[in-house]
Symmetry: C2
Subunit: 325 residues, 2 copies
DNA sequence: AAAACTTCTGGGAGCGCTCCCAGATTCCGC
DNA sequence: GCGGAATCTGGGAGCGCTCCCAGAAGTTTT
């Protein structure tokens, strides 16, 4: 294996200076077509690939973007949501010479790395509670976009699904089905996504009984416990809006164990459209890949310093009717 | 926001040369304790963080490792297996100054990037068929470890779960239950994991009827189709070993639709221990996080040029008894 | 007590690019 | 034609580190 060629070799072969090669490589203006072509040929002939480290060093740019997933959320990576977002993020990056660096934040240790100039921007997803990471990064001048509305508010732009409206739609569907005792299994109260979906349910339920609320932690296990508690409090309930498909799975299991038929005895609507279930789950779909693309697009715009961008973006959701409700 | 401090500032503050600071930073020998401490203090006081680009450039090291997921597998990222592996990989990297760069390979475009010297090594997971990427990287002298046995064989070391033995255990369990007509929903034939689990089933079934095989593509959808086909071919089947939990979900759905009770009429065993199901699935568990840690450990050893390493590692699996069989 | 090491430290030459500056060439309009 | 602008190109100074080399200080050997 011979040494990889450098920019000077390309320059020599093309019969130009390395400045010119650099211009061609970076698509700078003021290069004649003849020269440009000569350089292109030389690049291909030598199989030249620019050295990222040198580019970063000389160009004061890292050519890398961090995708931060908070590790306290542990299994969150297994979440189809996160996976889909990753795909979208990656797709939006295609064609750029930018690397995606994956980080799992143990609170504290990530901040200094990120503000240390190793990345040009950061995408922070699945935040819990009032994680100070966002403001830390923002205050250090690093372009940041949050995936999901930050509970703490603040100046950081974010992209989120319209959880509120999705929940309203789901609940209204349950109402239109003629259900009278509609419960909800809500998400944790320290995440905006949990809160927003609960608010949507409350909104749609206005004028009705809204005490049938149980909280789960976005796991099947949590959904099961919540369902059990709900069933104890109100054995006659005939519908439940579950704030996440994965929790719906647990709920379905409990409903089944208690001899309730779905949807005959109890109608169930989930959220996410992320898991296959028996019976097929009526749910609120969010386009996670689009979510990811939008996130990345927004961050790139932020990095390039575009003006007049909307502070945040809400992506629409849609109700998918299947057999559980 | 003031400029980040450089190594010279640290050196000045500590009253030593930047060579010495570099030594301390890299844990090189021949530095007196006094000096070392002085440098440490200066680093903390200035909040100094070394510039990765400069280190890479000067040190002929990228300080980055690529995690390559083949994109043709599309939704593979959503796979709890991949997610778990990522967590493990990340955990093993903790404490090192090495970045994890996530790449999704569209066949072809990743190779040149990786061999271009941007990373010190690569982890390639969820390969399909005879993807030439592995040998391409290996031939270029890049340290590589595969997650999952490469179907094509070859000299690349790999880490895998003992899929064969896991399948044998699962099938034997079905036999010990007294089941007489045992089918299997196998994975795709272009992935070693699919093949190995099928071989395990065949091995355990030796002396019995082994024609009840249907293939799925590791999706719930695929599992459902396979189950339907199986039921058509042998309505009397009383057990099925499904090569992936996610396919078992689809199978369960079909079984349910056809009025078969699980486990009374048909016993079901899955593989992965990755999804919650109704009824709770008896399955073969693999410790995915350990898988990831092992992968990374192996790659780091490879990069450091350790000798006498086993070419590959097989991780044990265990049967988890729940109610589906 | 001198020689021969060993341990510690500083100096400085790059690593392979980008980007600023200045010079050369071409293109206009009057 | 000629001045001035626009277009094109090369030279070279860094970017912030690592690592080699050589010298200073301290230790052991003969």
């Amino acid at each position: 294996m011979t040494r990889r060629p450098g920019i000077d070799e390309v320059a020599a072969l093309a019969g130009v200076s390395k400045s010119t090669v650099s211009r061609v490589l970076n698509g700078a203006p003021h290069v004649s077509t003849r020269t440009r072509e000569a350089v292109r040929r030389a690049v291909i002939q030598l199989g030249y690939a620019p050295n990222q480290a040198a580019r970063s060093l000389a160009g004061h740019r890292a050519n890398a973007i961090a995708l931060v997933v908070s590790e306290t959320t542990g299994r969150v990576l297994a979440d189809p949501f996160v996976a889909g977002v990753m795909r979208g993020v990656h797709a939006e990056l295609a064609g750029r010479r930018t690397q995606l660096v994956l980080m799992m934040s143990r609170p504290g240790d990530v901040g200094s790395y990120l503000t240390g100039g190793h990345v040009d921007g950061a995408l922070v997803i699945s935040m819990h509670g009032h994680d100070p990471l966002l403001s830390l990064l923002h205050d250090n001048g690093l372009p940041v976009v949050a995936g999901g509305r930050p509970l703490a508010g603040g100046p950081v732009p974010y992209v989120d699904s319209d959880n509120f409206t999705g929940a309203v739609d789901a609940t209204r569907h349950l109402i239109s089905l003629g259900c009278g005792r509609i419960a909800t299994i809500a998400g944790p109260t320290d995440m905006a996504v949990g809160l927003d979906r609960l608010s949507g349910w409350r909104r749609a339920m206005s004028g009705r009984r809204t005490d049938l609320v149980a909280h789960g932690d976005f796991t099947a296990q949590g959904g099961a416990s919540a369902m059990t508690s709900l069933l104890t409090r109100e054995p006659e309930l005939d519908a439940v809006f579950v704030a996440a498909d994965i929790m719906a799975l647990g709920a379905l299991q409990v409903l089944n164990a208690h001899g309730r038929r779905v949807p005959e005895d109890v109608a169930v609507v989930g959220f996410d459209d992320s898991v296959p279930a028996v019976p097929p789950l009526t749910t609120v779909r969010q386009d996670v890949e689009r979510f990811g693309r939008m996130l990345m697009w927004r961050l790139l715009a932020e990095i390039e310093g575009e003006e007049g961008l909307p502070p945040s973006v809400l992506l629409p959701t849609s109700l998918v009717l299947r057999t559980s409700a």
